[in-house]
């Protein structure tokens, strides 16, 4: 596919034809790709610890791309495809180059939300392409939430039968496999998020007695709150459900959510109140939340999966596993949160300054680009615990009609921040490269929106 990216758009294919007044200019005949490890990893899935380093030497007549693992080769191929350019006459050129490259951060993700709006498969796949062009390596699939449950579960088909927006707005097991494989071929991990105990309204449609019934004056109101942490059946369900998730999604991590749990419904429910008393939690419902979360962490651990959680889980003092990854998303004083999380010895992923759904007028890519993730008080060891970040595109106002232009090229700023060295910060230089990169994405079929006034030689249609 990289051959197509490099030569595909060129409508003047000077294939073997030399311009009339040709000097004997050096020609590049071949790019050799060498994977150094004994087991290149081509049949496996990328992991957090995978090597994405590569060494690229471009010289005539043969260029060599060497990488320890296939994942590095993919990154190097992307770079090579960006080095190739066309002059005004349509000649395809590349400069003699020597590049030694590797990512600064190992976890470079994009969050997509397919619950607030269903995203057709095609739009997810197009987005994976764009992610590869920007060296992103994690798709954080926030697949279900309050509004809809599009994930078609094998064990619990009623969840999507009753919880999806409609019967055709679902992801079948095949759809999910397609996404995972499409991502894998681009060196992108797929981390699914099944957010509980909050953000679960849609789960209650297809799973009776999962959510907490809310009460008013001693009577159930008919509405429901977060997942009920008090019933054994909840944990029976979760055990079975996460067994399925663990086998469907090959990545070593599953995101368990844990954000924005509204305690008011729990507080209104007499069984819950009784349970609080029995457990000695007093009136501290954060303890109940932690009780629930710890049980889920245990369940998921037993399936040999690592867990990612939103910061509240850490903030409310749940007992996490040592390798739990905490995702910091609250914008207010996120540097302090990073210090706290890493200070407590946990790995962190940063999203707080990169909520790309928060659109605003003008060149907001600059503020995303200017974030320095390690700008927080902490020791060197602590800073090593910040393994990367994620650009989040929450779906309240986003679906297939506007996803691509809203995400790209703004997310490209985040991509560079997470890959490149900390001293690559010059905005004027970044502007030049970003506008060029945007035109390149257009050529490759990604409807990235303009950065500023101007034009691309090959416009979108």
């Amino acid at each position: 596919r990289y051959y197509e990216y490099i030569f595909g758009h060129s409508w003047r294919r000077t294939w073997g034809r030399r311009p009339l007044a040709a000097r004997a200019e050096p020609e590049l005949f071949q790019l050799q790709v060498v994977i150094e490890a004994r087991d290149p990893g081509c049949d496996r899935h990328p992991q957090l610890a995978s090597s994405e380093a590569y060494h690229l030497t471009v010289t005539e007549p043969v260029a060599i791309l060497k990488a320890p693992e296939v994942w590095g080769a993919l990154r190097g191929l992307e770079t090579f495809s960006q080095l190739v350019h066309e002059d005004d006459y349509g000649s395809v050129l590349v400069n003699e180059s020597e590049i030694n490259d590797f990512p600064r951060f190992a976890h470079r993700g994009v969050l997509l939300d397919t619950s607030r709006h269903y995203l057709p498969l095609k739009s997810i796949l197009t987005n994976l392409d764009a992610m590869a062009f920007n060296k992103f390596n994690v798709l954080h699939w926030h697949i279900v939430d309050d509004q809809s449950f599009p994930y078609q579960s094998i064990y619990f088909p009623e969840l999507s039968d009753k919880g999806a927006y409609s019967s055709n707005l679902i992801y079948t097991p095949t759809d999910v496999r397609v996404v995972i494989e499409y991502a894998r071929l681009r060196g992108i991990r797929v981390i699914p998020e099944f957010d509980t105990p909050g953000h679960t309204q849609s789960w209650g449609k297809g799973q009776k007695d999962l959510l907490t019934p809310c009460y008013n004056g001693g009577q159930p109101t008919g509405s429901f709150g977060p997942v009920n942490p008090v019933w054994n059946t909840t944990y029976d369900f979760m055990t079975k459900f996460f067994k399925e998730i663990s086998s469907v999604f090959p990545d070593e991590f599953i995101h368990l959510g844990g954000d924005e749990v509204d305690f008011s419904c729990w507080k209104s429910n007499p069984e819950v109140k009784e349970f609080m008393k029995k457990q000695g939690f007093g009136i501290d419902y954060a303890k109940l939340e932690s009780y629930y979360v710890q049980n889920i962490l245990d369940i998921v651990s037993s399936y040999n999966k690592g867990q990612m959680v939103w910061q509240e889980v850490f903030d409310h003092k749940a007992q996490l596993k040592p390798d739990t990854v905490v995702q910091v998303w609250m914008a207010n004083n996120y540097a302090r949160e990073l210090s706290r999380v890493t200070g407590a010895g946990f790995t962190a992923v940063l999203s707080a300054p990169w909520y790309l759904d928060y659109i605003s007028y003008g060149q907001d890519w600059k503020k995303y680009y200017s974030v320095e993730p390690l700008n927080f008080p902490g020791s060197e060891e602590q800073k090593k615990l910040l393994i990367g970040g994620e650009a989040c595109l929450w779906g309240e106002f986003v679906d297939a009609t506007n996803l691509t232009p809203r995400l790209w090229p703004r997310a490209s700023a985040v991509g560079e921040r997470l890959w490149s060295s900390s001293n690559v910060t010059n905005l004027q230089d970044a502007y030049k490269r970003l506008t060029n990169h945007r035109c390149r994405m257009l050529r490759r079929g990604i409807a990235a929106e303009p950065v500023f006034v101007g034009y691309c030689a090959h416009e979108a249609r």
Binding site: D357, Y358, S360, N402, V453, Y455
Partner: protein
Amino acid sequence: AENEPSWETPCTKLLVYVSTPGCDGFPSLDSNESYKLSVSKGSMLLSAETIWGALRGLETFSQLVGRDENGTYYINETEIVDFPRFPHRGLLLDTSRHYLPLKAILETLDVMAYNKFNVFHWHIVDDPSFPYESSTFPELSKQGAFNAMTHVYTASDVRSVIEYARLRGIRVIAEFDTPGHTLSWGPGAPGLLTPCYMGKAPSGVYGPINPIVNSTYQFVTRLFQEVSTVFPDFFLHLGGDEVDFTCWKSNPEIRAFMVEMGLGQDYKKLESFYIQRLLDIVSSLGKGYIVWQEVFDNDVKLRPDTIIHVWKENNLQYLNEMANVTRSGYRALLSAPWYLNRISYGQDWIEAYKVEPLMFEGSPEQKALVIGGEACMWGEYVDVTNLTPRLW
């Protein structure tokens, strides 16, 4: 049973009756867009004074038709008498900051029709690029377009837009904004723009159109002669906004002119000098004109039938401007609260919807001078990749 729908008589025909169609003409500010729609068992009638009203009624009719779970198309018994509150309901597109392919413009015209918009304000050229292919001055686009082969509107393109719009009852009002916003005109029209000075010598940078040389007015006359013929609407938008005086001030010839003409240090008077001559030229070509509010704010002498386009938004100040403009007897167009290019997070349609154009202090006669408004989609950050979802 009594409440069951009676499916026996399917309605198969919508009769459209138009008293004075004028199907071969162009819509205008005075066009009558009223219509009546009558749907009852066995008969559906759409009647309108003009074809333009019939188009609006057709749109309404198409929105009334529903489809049930069995796939049956149905329509409720209906009696509608409808007409627009404001006769000028426009949309501005900017094809200079980014070129918009013809298809994108035509698609926008379709959606405008679905929303009963009736004016396409084509802000066709500006500082960054000049995509309009002029037959009188071909160098303008040859030198001023982003790419003279691929990023231009040929005469045929322009005709397509005008006709596509006409078939939807949409007027096309072209804006050739001067004397500011004209950097892209410079390369193809040497001597048109003011050379800026750094001390005694030209800096190599150019500013607004040079108002003190006769060649400017010869050029403007010939260009607008062409534009007047190409665009059939009675109105042209002449711009006149955001003129930066620094370049004029730096130019010694202009400074000398100011002294000669007794304009003192008031460069607004120089701007007025240019605008007045421009308005006279355009008038003599038999066109009416719309100008941005600065032209009114800077006390330019205007024809009574000038339309002032209110765009500056600063804490609801635009309502004062609307009052001032109408109090002075001019017709007003409102855009200030409707700059749709200024995106923000959330359901911002609500703020746009809440705007009440007539919420200012003034007599009923004054308020009658507000002929409508325009949603503006300036192009700094917009091209075909994001135009449609940003606008609609």
